[in-house]
């Protein structure tokens, strides 16, 4: 896995980070189903529906059904049902008894609660990553830091989104704490969706990219306290951006 990550250094074009099976399931390809392998069908259903919610294809405030989700994904009702349970625990779907399924509205207060929790867990993850990253992983963090800087200077939001995803996945790997990782994954979808909705208006992208770069650099250098401090600065920025969206209404 680390070897795959290191290989990106040599590539002329940045590759999509295939950090772990669950990440590759987030970009499902048609015809990828193994017959009778319900495990992976649930994973695929989850990944596809989550992506659709995060990217607003399933609009906030809209209602869906097991049937419509089944048709959308081409996956059967049973794995869909299991995926829905998981998405409900992650606050991406609301199950309304007898009334169907709701994709929740964007809720700024809820986002702020999420950020308070995310701050504590993510600080631990970044500190742990600074402590536990392998030399190859540190090389990639250093490279990410440079690319964040470039994206910052160029105000390049497309690159930023890609780098952010790679960075987040690598942090989870390098931290080597399955409980912190599980806690982060609970919040991941909702956090991404909020960003998706608002970042064009409200975010100072160069600053956000710069702050991400600072965390990546601290982890690369193995500086545990700096990793925590830069993460706090990043979360301060995200919190400010979140509060600013209230003003938009």
């Amino acid at each position: 896995m680390a070897e795959q990550i290191v290989a990106r250094k040599a590539a002329a074009q940045p590759k999509t980070l295939r950090a772990r099976p669950s990440t590759s399931a987030r970009a499902p390809k048609a015809g990828n189903k193994r017959p009778g392998a319900k495990e992976s069908l649930t994973e695929q259903a989850y990944a596809q529906i989550e992506e659709a919610i995060v990217t607003l294809q399933l609009a906030p405030g809209s209602t869906v059904s097991e049937l419509s989700l089944s048709e959308m994904t081409g996956i059967g009702r049973t794995p869909i049902r299991e995926a829905i349970q998981r998405l409900a625990r992650e606050h991406l779907i609301v199950i309304m008894p007898q009334r169907g399924l709701l994709v929740p509205e964007i809720d700024v207060k809820k986002q702020l609660k999420l950020l308070r929790t995310r701050r504590e867990v993510e600080r631990l993850i970044c500190r742990s990553a600074a402590k536990s990253a392998t030399p190859q992983e540190r090389d990639v963090f250093a490279q990410l830091a440079e690319e964040f800087e470039e994206a910052s200077k160029a105000n390049d939001d497309v690159s930023f989104v890609r780098l952010d995803r790679e960075f987040n996945e690598l942090c989870l790997i390098a931290a080597r704490n399955e409980f912190a990782e599980a806690a982060m994954r609970l919040m991941h979808g909702l956090a991404r969706r909020f960003w998706y909705v608002h970042y064009r208006e409200a975010a100072d992208l160069p600053e956000m990219a710069r702050l991400h770069g600072a965390v990546a650099r601290a982890i690369a250098e193995g500086n545990v306290d700096a990793a925590g401090d830069t993460l706090d600065a990043l979360l301060d920025n995200i919190e400010a951006f979140t509060r600013a969206t209230l003003v938009e209404f």
């Binding site: 495990e39 649930t42 049973t78 049902r81 299991e82 349970q85 625990r89 606050h91 199950i95 008894p97 809820k110 609660k113 999420l114 308070r116 929790t117 995310r118 504590e120 867990v121 600080r123 631990l124 742990s128 402590k131 536990s132 080597r176 704490n177 399955e178 409980f179 912190a180 599980a182 806690a183 609970l186 919040m187």
Partner: protein
């Protein structure tokens, strides 16, 4: 493989009500029953089981059992592998240390939030629980401690007001309880844990977020010490981060 069969978990007289429960609540019941069985080691750590066996053990049908298995796999209580089936994870103090590292951060936030927000009724309940913890410490009473602990945890989760804190804490409850359950016969652990829980409940009831945070850290320090001791005892050579 099974230490003993679970006593019937459901009152037969509520059979009619059970049949109209939704899929979601059946899943939730299966999850709770299966987690309990694993936590109390009625299914032995390290054992391999089939979905059918678990289904029969908890008295629920295959679908909710399967969903429960999936959830508990994500919570690191069991492992599902394509050809090996379902394996109940061994209790590993190194895993426990990583759990405690995470729990420390989330629980500190949780008790700060509660200390600031809790009303008079919650404070009264917390003080009563604090007294129960102290009694449990004095008498080395495991049952009283377990009962107070469960009430305390559920109270905190219900009044916390932050669903993401709650979600993160719930993820860690199963493995945490199982580790503690294994060690609870050690009187020293019981007394120290009960005493620190008493202090934490009282600190939260005082309404001072800093005092609550400090008491939470002290409790986690203690839990960490016991986990490290478990590593030494088993002669575990795996290096601890």
């Amino acid at each position: 493989m099974f230490r003993r069969q679970l006593a019937p978990m459901r009152d037969p007289s509520i059979g009619d009500r059970v049949t109209v429960r939704s899929d979601a609540s059946l899943s939730q019941s299966a999850y709770e029953l299966l987690e309990e069985a694993i936590v109390t080691q009625q299914v032995a750590p390290g054992s391999s089981v089939s979905e059918a066996q678990l289904s029969e053990l908890i008295g629920m049908s295959r679908m909710p059992t399967r969903e429960a298995v999936r959830r508990l796999a994500r919570e690191n209580l069991l492992e599902v592998r394509p050809k090996c089936g379902i394996t109940i994870r061994l209790i590993d103090p190194n895993v426990q240390l990583r759990l405690l590292e995470t729990r420390r951060e989330v629980e500190r936030l949780m008790v700060r939030l509660i200390a600031r927000e809790c009303d008079a009724a919650a404070k009264a309940t917390l003080r009563a629980l604090s007294a129960d913890f102290e009694t449990a410490a004095i008498r080395s009473d495991v049952l009283l401690f377990v009962h107070a602990d469960k009430s305390f945890n559920e109270l905190c989760l219900s009044i916390c007001g932050n669903e993401f804190v709650v979600g993160a804490m719930r993820l860690m409850q199963g493995p945490s309880r199982r580790f503690w359950f294994q060690r609870s016969r050690d009187a020293e652990i019981l007394v120290e844990s009960a005493t620190l829980h008493a202090a934490l409940a009282a600190a939260i009831a005082s309404g001072d977020p800093d005092a609550a945070a400090h008491a939470s850290d002290r409790l986690l320090d203690s839990a960490e010490r016991f986990a490290r001791r478990a590593i030494e005892e088993t002669g575990d050579a795996l290096s601890v981060r």
